[in-house]
Every structure is written in structure tokens, then in C-alpha cells.
């Protein structure tokens, strides 16, 4: 927002107080800490020095990044970077104990970590939405301005124009969140069922078939997106070029008249 004395003499920049961020912040941090603890536990059980060192180090970074620093102003890309770092750190550290991973109970811990990471993924768009909803608003700097604002709000109350009260907004937001979580929980349930079947029967043929189907569907969708995007860019360029041509036609060259003083 602009720093203008006319704008900011009575108002200051604040944020809407509808969404409580601390819940998301805590959830996100707890998921990361449990993830790091699980990996540390695996290192402890197998007495693997690399894993112990890596995940002690990672825990410190996670606590610093996700607990101490301010989460509200973090973009979705910042959050994604943390998840990618966690994922690749896990890839690298697990390299040392790959021969031992055949034991099923280790796979259970790793599955739990997978679900935790999936939850962290799910939190990304939810937090992003919450960020938008509790976006910047102007707040009154003095009592007189606040009274003026409240007068306006009371005046609106009697009409069709009704500003959502905090209570009603929270009700809608909880519903919105619930619907989103139901949608997100469907794939997790599907995955858990698939993997349970896979653990029970390692040669479970349906699993391979579903993975292959997902791969096919996925590549088709990504290709469609890329082609649509390229087509859109092409159309945009074409429209722009046509516009420029039109503009050129309209321009009539005018040369300055030169007046020669003969006197």
C-alpha cells in the first residue's frame, strides 16, 4: 500500500482478524517435527551415524524455519521449498539403509512419514487461501475514525448490504475447510487401502495396474495442460499482433511544417 499522508493520517495497515493462523502454524510445525523424529528413530534403531547426524541437523533447521520464524508472510513457494528439502534429505539419508528396508515394520513408519508429508502438501493451498482471506485491510488509527466506520457498518445493517460478522464468517470458513478436507482425505484413504493390500500381498497385481493407469492419466493431463497453455500463448500473441497492425493503420504521419523567415 502507498505511503501517502492523505491515506495514512487516519488509517493504518492491518489484517482481517477472521482466520486464526496459529492452528495451521502449529499443525505444519508438528508434522515436520514428527517426520524428523521418525527418521531419527530409524537411524537410532539401525545405529546409522549418517541418519542420526542428518536428522538432528534437520530438526534444528525445521524448528528454526517453522516454529520461530513468522509463517504468515511466507509464500507457497517458501513452504514448498521446506517440503522438497525434507523429501530429498530423506532420499539421501535412506540411501544408506536401503538393504534393510525390506522389513515391513520400517515400511509402516515410512508410510506414516509419507502421510505426514502429504498432509504438509495439503496444508499448502489451505494456508495460501487463509492468507488471502486474512489479507490487508485498513484499520482506524483513532477513535473518531473508528466511530465513523462503525456508524457506516450499523447503517448498512438495516439494508440488504450486510457485512459478514466474524461469527458467520467463521461458520462459513469451517464449512469450507471441512469440504476441502473431505476432498483431500479421499485420495489418502485410497492410497492407504492400496498400500495395505500391497503389504499383505507383495505381488498384488491390481496395484501395478492402478499405478500404470495413474501414470497414463497423469501424463495425458499434463500434456493437455502444456498444449492448452502453448495454444493460449500463441492466441495471445496473435491477438496482440493484430492489434498492433490495426494501430499502425490508424497512425497518420504528420511532418512539422517548416516556416522560413525571409524578412
Amino acid at each position: 500500500m502507498r505511503e501517502d499522508p492523505i491515506v495514512f493520517e487516519d488509517w493504518k495497515v492491518g489484517s482481517a482478524k477472521y482466520v486464526n493462523f496459529s492452528i495451521f502454524k502449529r499443525a505444519d510445525a508438528i508434522f515436520s517435527i514428527i517426520f524428523a523424529f521418525n527418521m531419527f528413530l530409524i537411524g537410532l534403531i539401525y545405529q546409522n551415524g549418517t541418519m542420526l547426524f542428518t536428522w538432528l541437523f534437520a530438526s534444528v533447521i525445521i524448528i528454526f524455519l517453522e516454529v520461530i520464524t513468522d509463517q504468515k508472510n511466507r509464500t507457497i513457494l517458501n513452504r514448498l521449498t521446506i517440503i522438497i528439502i525434507l523429501g530429498f534429505l530423506a532420499v539421501l539419508s535412506l540411501q544408506t539403509i536401503i538393504p534393510l528396508l525390506r522389513y515391513t515394520w520400517i515400511n509402516v513408519i515410512l508410510s506414516l512419514n509419507g502421510i505426514l508429508l502429504a498432509f504438509k502438501f495439503i496444508l499448502l493451498p489451505i494456508v495460501n487461501d487463509a492468507n488471502d482471506i486474512s489479507g490487508e485491510v485498513l484499520e482506524p488509527r483513532n477513535e473518531m475514525t473508528e466511530n465513523r466506520l462503525m456508524d457506516q457498518v450499523h447503517r448498512l445493517e438495516g439494508t440488504e448490504f450486510e457485512i459478514l460478522s466474524s461469527k458467520k464468517f467463521n461458520l462459513i470458513y469451517l464449512k469450507y475447510l471441512k469440504i476441502n478436507l473431505i476432498y483431500y482425505s479421499i485420495p489418502i484413504v485410497v492410497i492407504v487401502i492400496l498400500f495395505t493390500l500391497k503389504i499383505i500381498n507383495p505381488n498384488f497385481i491390481l496395484f501395478q495396474a492402478i499405478i500404470a493407469l495413474i501414470g497414463l492419466f497423469y501424463s495425458v493431463i499434463i500434456l493437455t495442460i502444456i498444449i492448452t497453455w502453448l495454444y493460449y500463448k500463441y492466441m495471445q500473441r496473435k491477438v496482440r499482433l493484430e492489434d498492433e497492425e490495426d494501430e499502425e493503420e490508424e497512425i497518420i504521419p504528420v511532418f512539422p511544417k517548416i516556416k522560413i523567415d525571409t524578412t
Binding site: G87, G114, Q152, E160, F161, Y176, Y183, P187, I214
Partner: protein
């Protein structure tokens, strides 16, 4: 995709809905795809689980879209007015209606000069809880603002992929000058104008309605003008005489040079509207001149009921031009239109070069009936860079002391000297100078204060005339 719609204040739209994959959604899909590949190559649960989650969500959404044949939503947008006063609120009401239940979000896209209060520019809707939502926007600055479009997101995964409807409004909101901070009762405003007129003009007997004097009855006087009570008292016929109504011509000059940019210009334009409201209801005439360096604009205030609204609309898009007000251009403009012998009210800056003001006033004083010069003080209007620095930003007490005791006091001294200089330059038998020290005032109150100082003017003229007679 979207089309321009002829906007009326209460309109219902049925727009095409289309599918949107956000940037974040695309990134998440790609990242989970990489994890999926890693998981498959290592046969590791950790990568497979969260690698699979987004593709499956995406597939569910695609199947949902395929099943969805028609998702029409009707949107009604209500805006109270296309023009508002600066520093006031503009409510925008959006009602969304559909045959089926839905939940989602509404996003309002507006120009930079409109600021949201209470709720941000994004709000949630749920057809079971509330049909619509109201955004309250504040327009702190005069100018032309715009409500660009309304984006409604429904049925999807928040922030990743959803159905979207975009309604292009391009609705222009004209923000006219704000009212003066101090509101005065109408009777007081009228009294100030009467005082001003009586100070400037000398009453002459004539055919008006205001009482002027009593005199003896002469043959031919109208019977209805006889003052019966006085006649009975003095035992002879006495008639009333009336004052000729004075028709003064006021010219209000607003300096629109770059030095005035910001709160000063806003105050000046607001003052122009305030003075116009008083003069419009009287029998005097008023013209407002906006004078920059090369730019001059004159707005004549008509007598119709919509004249004030027209004036405010004319003033809403005034932009500063040039470095200083050009007095020569102003004088020529006034003389060309034969507006000389008017009462000039000037709202200008106190940052101009004194010699420049002196020369300008010399040319104007000769041709005008009276001049009232209101100089807007720079420290008072908070346009100095220093006034933006707050006390909290000083960590060092010495710095704070330096600011309070040395910088601010010396500034005060400098400006006091400057105002004194201006006063010496402008004050004369038919002209007066007054500093407007703060935004939180009313120009009519400043005028009243000036009139108190102006009281001695008539005596001054009388002395001057006597001197001429003696010579």
C-alpha cells in the same frame, strides 16, 4: 472468455464458467510427479504416498468436471453510487445465486485508490449460510477509481484447481473532494458571508429588502413604506429606506502547481466546494479558477440545484501542473474575461519565491476590488519529509532531542519568518493574507478570522481619501 458488460447499478449477470489451474496447483502437480517417479524407482512408501496424493485429487476433480454438465450461477452486483466524497465509504454488495448448493470465494479487483476496510478483497460464500457478501471500500483520495472485476471461485480444491467465473465491470467511481473537516451550521456560514459582503461593499440605498434608514416623508413616496410607529412617535410622517442589494462577483483561485500536490491541493479543492455552497445560495456569483503554470481552467458556478454536484465532478480529476502558479497568466485570464473588480479569494502555497508572489500581487491588486490570500502552511499540512518520521523510529534519545529541540524549533522560526514576509508583501488597503495552519479547519472559519483583522480597512480607506481631498 470475459466480456464487457454495460453496467447499471443493479445488474444480474450469467457468465460462462471456466476451469482454472493455478500456478501453485501446477507446481504441486509437477513436484508430486517427481516424488511419484522417485517412489516407483525405489519402491519406497515415503515418496509413493505423497507422490500419489495430488494426481489422485486431480483425477477426482477431472471426473467431477466430466459429470458436471451445467453449472450456471447468477451474480448480482449492487453499488450504491458512482460518485462518492473522498474519505467516505463505498459498499459493494455481491449476491450469488445458483440452482444447486455451492461454496467458494469471491474476489474483488479494484484500482489502487480504493482500500478495503473490515473485510479484505477476498471473501467466502456458502449458499446455505449467506447468499452474498458486502465489501466496504474506503476512498481516501480524490480522483477517478475503478472496480475492475469480480472473480468468483466455486467447486474445487482451494487454491489449486477450481471453477471460476470472471465478471468484467470496469465501473468508474468518481471520488469528489472531501467535505471540510470542521462542519459549520448553515446560519453561521451565512453570517460569515454577510460579514464579508458588508466589509467589502458600502451600503447604498435602493430597492432592496434590507432596512437602511428612516427619513421624512416626501411627496411621491409609497404609502406602504411609511413607518407608522416612528410617525406616531415624532408626530410626522416618516418612511423607511431600503438597501440596494449588492451583487458581488467572487473569484476563487486554487493554485494547482506541483508545490501544492498532496493534502494542500485536497484542502484547497474541498474549500472551493465549501465556499461554493454558501455563495450559490446567495445572489452573488462565483467562478472557480484552477491555475497552474500554463494550465488555467475556469468553472462558473451556476444557479441550478445540480450546480454544486457539477462543480465537485469538475474538480475530481484536477492534477497539479507546473512548478509555481503563474500570476501573469491568471491576470490575463481575468482581464480577458472582463472579470476585473471582483473579490478574489486565493488558496495558494507558502513555498513560492517571495519576489514571484510580490510581482503577482502587484498586478492583481490594481484590478481587483479585494483580495483574500490564504497561504497553506507546509509543516501544518504534514508534507515535509520530517513529519513522516515518527518518534518510534528513533532509537537514540540524543537524536530525538536533536529533532525536538533543534530541528523543529528552527523550522518553526524559519516558517514564522516566511509567513511574516508574506504578510508584509500581501497586506494592503484591499488585500489580506492569512496562514491556514492545519487541515482540520474550515475555510469559512479562517475567513472569519481574516475579517476580524480586516475591520480597520474602511477607516484606512477613509483616511486615504481624506488625504486626497486635502491635497
Amino acid at each position: 472468455m470475459s466480456k464487457d458488460i454495460d453496467f447499471s447499478d443493479k445488474e444480474e449477470y450469467i457468465n460462462p464458467t471456466f476451469y482454472v489451474l493455478t500456478r501453485e496447483g501446477l507446481i504441486l502437480l509437477i513436484v508430486s510427479f517427481v516424488f511419484l517417479l522417485l517412489g516407483l524407482s525405489y519402491e519406497n512408501m515415503l515418496y509413493l504416498i505423497h507422490g500419489l496424493i495430488f494426481p489422485i485429487i486431480f483425477i477426482i476433480f477431472s471426473i467431477y468436471l466430466m459429470r458436471l454438465d451445467n453449472y450456471d450461477i447468477r451474480v448480482r452486483i449492487e453499488i450504491t453510487s458512482g460518485e462518492i466524497k473522498a474519505k467516505t465509504f463505498l459498499p459493494v454488495h455481491i449476491i450469488v445465486d445458483s440452482d444447486r448448493n455451492f461454496s467458494g470465494s469471491i474476489k474483488l479487483e479494484v484500482s489502487d485508490g480504493l482500500f478495503p476496510v473490515i473485510t479484505p478483497l477476498v471473501s467466502l460464500i456458502d449458499s446455505r449460510e449467506a447468499k452474498g457478501t458486502t465489501f466496504l471500500l474506503l476512498a481516501p483520495k480524490r480522483g477517478k477509481e475503478k472496480i475492475n472485476r469480480v472473480v468468483i471461485q466455486i467447486a474445487g480444491f482451494s487454491g489449486l484447481f477450481h471453477l471460476e467465473q470472471r465478471i468484467v465491470l470496469n465501473k468508474e467511481i468518481m471520488v469528489v473532494p472531501e467535505p471540510q473537516r470542521v462542519a459549520l451550521p448553515w446560519t453561521m456560514k451565512q453570517k460569515i458571508l454577510e460579514d464579508l459582503v458588508s466589509e467589502i461593499s458600502v451600503p447604498v440605498k435602493g430597492r432592496g429588502y434590507d432596512f437602511f434608514a428612516l427619513r421624512d416623508f416626501n411627496f411621491g413616496d409609497e404609502v406602504r413604506h411609511i413607518h407608522w410607529r416612528a410617525s406616531a412617535k415624532y408626530n410626522k410622517l416618516i418612511v423607511k429606506e431600503f438597501e440596494e442589494p449588492m451583487m458581488l462577483r467572487f473569484i476563487l483561485v486554487v493554485d494547482s502547481s506541483l508545490l501544492m500536490n498532496g493534502p494542500k491541493l485536497e484542502f484547497a479543492l474541498s474549500a472551493a466546494v465549501e465556499i461554493s455552497t454558501v455563495i450559490q445560495r446567495s445572489h452573488h456569483s462565483l467562478s472557480v479558477i484552477i491555475q497552474g503554470d500554463k494550465y488555467t481552467k475556469m468553472i462558473h458556478l451556476g444557479q441550478s440545484s445540480s450546480a454544486l454536484r457539477t462543480l465537485a465532478l469538475d474538480l475530481h480529476n484536477i492534477r497539479p501542473e507546473g512548478t509555481a502558479m503563474n500570476y501573469i497568466n491568471l491576470k490575463n485570464f481575468i482581464m480577458d474575461r472582463r472579470l476585473n473588480s471582483s473579490v478574489l479569494l486565493i488558496l495558494s502555497d507558502t513555498e513560492n519565491e517571495p519576489n514571484h508572489v510580490k510581482e503577482g500581487m502587484m498586478t492583481l491588486k490594481r484590478n481587483m476590488q479585494a483580495i483574500f490570500f490564504f497561504g497553506l502552511s507546509t509543516p501544518g499540512f504534514g508534507t515535509l519529509a520530517l513529519s513522516k518520521v515518527r518518534d518510534e523510529s528513533f532509537y537514540n534519545l540524543d537524536q530525538l532531542y536533536y529533532r525536538r529541540e533543534i530541528v523543529e524549533t528552527s523550522l518553526e522560526r524559519i516558517y514564522r519568518r516566511r509567513f511574516k514576509l508574506y504578510q508584509n508583501l500581501i497586506d494592503g488597503p484591499n488585500s489580506r493574507f492569512k496562514v491556514v495552519k492545519t487541515y482540520n479547519t474550515n475555510i469559512l472559519l479562517e475567513l472569519r478570522e481574516l475579517l476580524v483583522a480586516f475591520k480597520g480597512r474602511k477607516a484606512h480607506i477613509r483616511v486615504a481619501m481624506r488625504g486626497e481631498d486635502n491635497a
